[in-house]
Subunit: 218 residues, 2 copies
């Protein structure tokens, strides 16, 4: 059965982006420090059309994610950094150039309808305006018997968590305190929710904590 | 050289206590879920004068901490849950009864001076009114060639971190989302601070992430 998996890099103090994100520095001040482990990994570089990188445990975690992901869901801000109508959005085709690193259909949550955007390398961006459940349904249909990857940002992760739609959560804990920024979980204001640890992989650059999220009745 | 080590249990969403702490439920709603791994460990039970428990990796982490700790620093709220003058504080002798689980000198940060409290089992509570540096200095002197353990709460940890006085940080990440409560790091509003991962120990109940905190010039 197709599952919804969230995988995201977080600082030890809980941020998925630093403060003051801009078009030049979309991850905010220090935000790149969350992803250094990925930038150094061969599998990440390969998916981004880059050469080199290390074939280590971190690279395997990314490789596994790419191999098991049949579709991606993300928020509008993660896609372009913008908000509101698309016309004035300088990153209306996303951050990633002509050949984005996803190589599967990507479903972008937005309030502003637009045509599907077909990119090189089997990535297509589908814009979903009727909410998180509709986006998940479309992504599941597109994923076949692979998983749907929820890649962020924080607000979208919170929405899927609160709706009880998330099956698995893998947090890549980066060894850094950002001090401020976008908090992944913020204050969810849910009842305490126990998770099941299903795997921990540690390297000097990052700790990958994987959890099963139990079904909830809310 | 005597180091200052912080060891604290934190939920995946960054809380060291749940919301609405009371005298009856000092860890707030769901806060006990942060410490279940410890309650089940033989070494924790032993230090609390209880029998039973498991001799597992988690128990060894606690055993190591007890063995290497020569003095403890904590905040007033962690000591008694109260604030202000001592007279009306119903937990003015601490939470732990006649034989507290520390078995070394404990330095309690407070704005309200009082005499040292000598308990059974080699625990003594020393009340320090002249700030975090003075408390650390006194604790270091008492610790001999062992470490000083900074055991919380969040506000005190933040103060030592911001002052650049912390040498080591061990976070016991409990597999639970509390949804609200006392945030360990909150928004420190420091420049991004890279940490060095020195050890990761994982069990089904908790992941122990240990970091060296680099020296800072602030």
């Amino acid at each position: 059965m197709t599952r919804l998996r969230c995988e995201i890099s977080m600082s030890l103090d809980g941020f998925v982006a630093g403060p003051n994100p801009t078009l030049e520095e979309p991850l905010g001040v220090g935000g790149n420090l969350l992803h250094e482990w990925a930038f150094a990994a061969a599998s990440w570089r390969e998916s981004h059309g880059l050469e080199g990188g290390e074939r280590n445990a971190d690279s395997e975690v990314i490789e596994e994610s790419l191999r098991t992901t049949g579709a991606v869901v993300m928020g509008r801000r993660m896609f372009s950094g913008g908000e509101g109508p698309w016309e004035p959005d300088p990153r209306a085709e996303g951050w990633w150039g002509d050949n984005p690193p996803f190589h599967v259909p990507v479903f972008v949550l937005t309030h502003h309808a637009r045509q599907t955007l077909v990119m090189e390398g089997d990535t297509s961006f589908h814009f979903v305006t009727d909410g998180i459940e509709a986006a998940l349904e479309q992504a599941k249909a597109a994923a076949g018997n692979q998983d749907v990857l929820l890649s962020g940002g924080a607000s979208v992760v919170q929405q899927y968590l609160k709706a009880g739609l998330l099956d698995e959560l893998q947090i890549h804990v980066a060894p850094v305190l950002l001090g401020d920024g976008t908090s992944l979980f913020d204050r969810l204001e849910i009842d305490p929710l126990g998770l099941e640890v299903t795997r921990v992989i540690a390297s000097p650059s990052v700790t990958h904590l994987r959890f099963r999220v139990p079904a909830r009745t809310t």
